[in-house]
């Protein structure tokens, strides 16, 4: 199993992350430019009908991207997409994984499609996505 010679079913992406804290959400608010108060202001979140603040989807996608480019050089990533399947709650301990779903030729290069997931500590899927990489 390697990124250079991937076979369908190979798990080439795997990374675990520390629990998401309020502090992390505050930092991400500033670092990402996404100042939506629903992620950092408990009063606003409650007013909007949520029991508490919750993670930016894009923080979770940033973790998934980090797991992806630990395994695959950033310059090889041709596309990266996710569905935000469920809200990621405070305290979530995320695990990001990616397996080879397809190997094919496109635009004159050999590529692989990776099926990506992010799950919390209960195994609940938060993000489901895919990346196309050059191999």
């Amino acid at each position: 199993m390697s990124v250079d010679q991937p076979s369908i079913g190979d798990r080439i992406v795997h990374k675990e992350f520390l629990a998401i804290t309020r502090h992390r959400l505050a930092l991400y608010c500033g670092a990402s430019g996404d100042h939506n108060p629903i992620h950092v202001d408990l009063d606003f979140a409650r007013q909007a009908g949520f029991p508490d603040v919750f993670s930016h989807g894009m923080l979770v996608m940033a973790y998934l991207g980090q797991a992806l480019t630990d395994a695959v050089a950033p310059s090889r990533v041709r596309s990266f997409s996710t569905r935000f399947v469920a809200i990621t709650q405070l305290g979530a301990e995320l695990t990001c994984e990616g397996t080879v779903a397809e190997v094919f030729e496109q635009e004159g290069e050999k590529r692989a499609k990776l099926a990506l997931t992010t799950r919390d500590q209960n195994g609940e899927i938060k993000l489901a996505g895919e990346a196309i990489i050059a191999i």
């Binding site: 991400y28 990402s32 430019g33 606003f44 980090q66 990533v77 997409s81 935000f84």
Partner: protein, 151 residues
């Protein structure tokens, strides 16, 4: 409620510079230690002109340098508290590295009602070009609007 008349609407282009200090703040926040994003020499040894940006960072750059980050919500009369991020896609066409200046041109590409009008999905597609006019990426963001129940 947002309807089909929104399709094709374009919003104010945003130009952003990839600044090393802001990028470092982002990398520290997500615990990203990959030297390709942090170390110019490591990036150059890997064939890049300078340190690269991580896969989701273009989304952040657009929000950071927008005069009005949620312009499309105001323009379409959508309450920020009713919006969730449904899907996000990045297509990478050329490298984006520290020192680049990139311009984002967002427009609405589709509006779809779901669950009998309880939700509206709005897709905003954004073309990204760099300081040399090179088309470096395309972003596609799907926002889910939780519509108010009719009273």
């Amino acid at each position: 409620m947002v309807d089909q008349s929104a399709v094709g609407r374009a919003f104010t282009p945003v130009t952003a510079r990839v600044e090393p200090g802001r990028l470092r703040f982002f990398l520290d926040t997500i615990g990203e230690a990959n030297p390709l994003y942090r170390d110019e020499k490591a990036a150059q040894a890997a064939g890049n002109a300078a340190a690269a940006v991580p896969p989701t960072y273009l989304f952040c750059l657009e929000m950071m340098d927008a005069t009005e980050p949620f312009e499309f919500l105001r323009a379409l009369d959508i309450d920020l508290a009713r919006v969730l991020h449904g899907e996000q896609r990045f297509d990478y066409r050329a490298p984006v590295v520290v020192g680049d200046t990139v311009t984002f041109k967002p427009r609405v590409s589709s509006v779809t009602e779901k669950k009998g009008g309880a939700m509206t999905l709005i897709v905003v597609e954004t073309e990204v070009t760099n300081q040399d006019g090179v088309h470096v990426a395309d972003l596609s963001r799907t926002v889910v609007v939780r519509n108010a129940r009719p009273s």
